[in-house]
Symmetry: C2
Subunit: 206 residues, 2 copies
């Protein structure tokens, strides 16, 4: 049984400190804006944004237990705990909130790590999480700038900043994020190549 | 039929510009030094160092053909060409120079990318390639410093610098390098943990 938007907001916001719920409100806003800009469905983008951090403040042992006990992606447990809440959030969305929209569930699941062949909705939610108005970290201005060019350029800048932080801190890098970034670079290159081989007249509006 | 050391040097050096052979001489020296410092076999380290860049100046289409036609790791062809010569070099070492020592061949194969569970010889040759006396790039001083602490810390600093360059250039990152770095970080953490749980008397020389 699917919860209403208001029930969802009540259920999710009660599981995190007020400051984090403010972040979620920002992601909802940015996800709607990016969806409108880049042709995704704003309602589905907002839905994924509402739920994306539901498990963020659960004790990590509870997050790990959900992953281990439900046959989810246990490889995540070999990596740092901040990666776990996305997988748990996708599970909660499906099992507790009755969300059946596979793309919404996946956008929650991959909002931190990204993945190869990200869907339009994956891209919108993941990038919104980087650039929502409340975010203030070194490099966020560049990501916001790139987000105006394309979802792909925004996300590459976002993943770049994440990888740089992990290098500085001497932490492991989740390989899926590297695969996601590689794939986005290839999507950009393919698009650029297509633009270059387009007949000249087309560029002149012909 | 295995070539002698002198025949090998002749065969390899003739396939690259003099400047690159100077680099190889540096890697031979550093590989011997690192082997002696960290308990690897200096002769095998030097052997891998002699051959490691044999294919570096082959035309890239020839490198790609060797990989494709001999059932080598074709995934490399999805990544930038500077990764290819290591795989080709390992093939040449085995097929043309009659080197049968599996660890020497692997040290050649993984000298650019690294891999999970690097052998002692892999580590020595890969790190020597980063720090040989002729190297002069931003960050090499830090890698040389870390190389005095351990092979693992030296290599992590090396891979960090490679990944930073790829981020700056907007190039794809070979996932195996990320897996190698993750594995080295875990090896360090395990060693540190073991050191901390050692009885106190041992630290006092008891």
């Amino acid at each position: 049984m699917r919860l209403t938007r208001e029930q969802l907001i009540e259920a999710v916001s009660s599981q995190m400190p007020a400051r984090r719920w403010q972040h979620t409100l920002g992601v909802m806003q940015s996800a709607i804006e990016l969806a409108e800009r880049y042709g995704a469905d704003p309602q589905r983008a907002e839905l994924a944004a509402i739920v994306h951090d539901v498990a963020k403040y659960w004790p990590v042992h509870r997050q790990a237990a959900v992953i281990a006990e439900n046959g989810l992606n246990t490889d995540l447990l070999n990596y740092d705990a901040p990666l776990w809440h996305s997988e748990v959030g996708a599970h909660v969305a499906e099992q507790e909130y009755g969300i059946e929209d596979r793309e919404v569930i996946d956008a929650i699941r991959y909002h931190t790590s990204g993945r190869e062949e990200m869907t339009l909705l994956d891209k919108v939610v993941c990038l919104a999480d980087y650039i929502e108005p409340g975010r203030d970290f070194p490099g966020v201005a560049l990501i916001r700038e790139k987000a105006l060019l394309s979802l792909e350029e925004g996300l590459i800048a976002g993943f770049d900043s994440t990888i740089r932080v992990l290098l500085e801190r001497g932490q492991t890098i989740f390989p899926t994020t590297v695969l996601a970034r590689n794939d986005l670079l290839r999507q950009l290159a393919t698009r650029e190549q297509a633009a270059q081989t387009r007949p000249v007249t087309e560029n002149k509006g012909g």
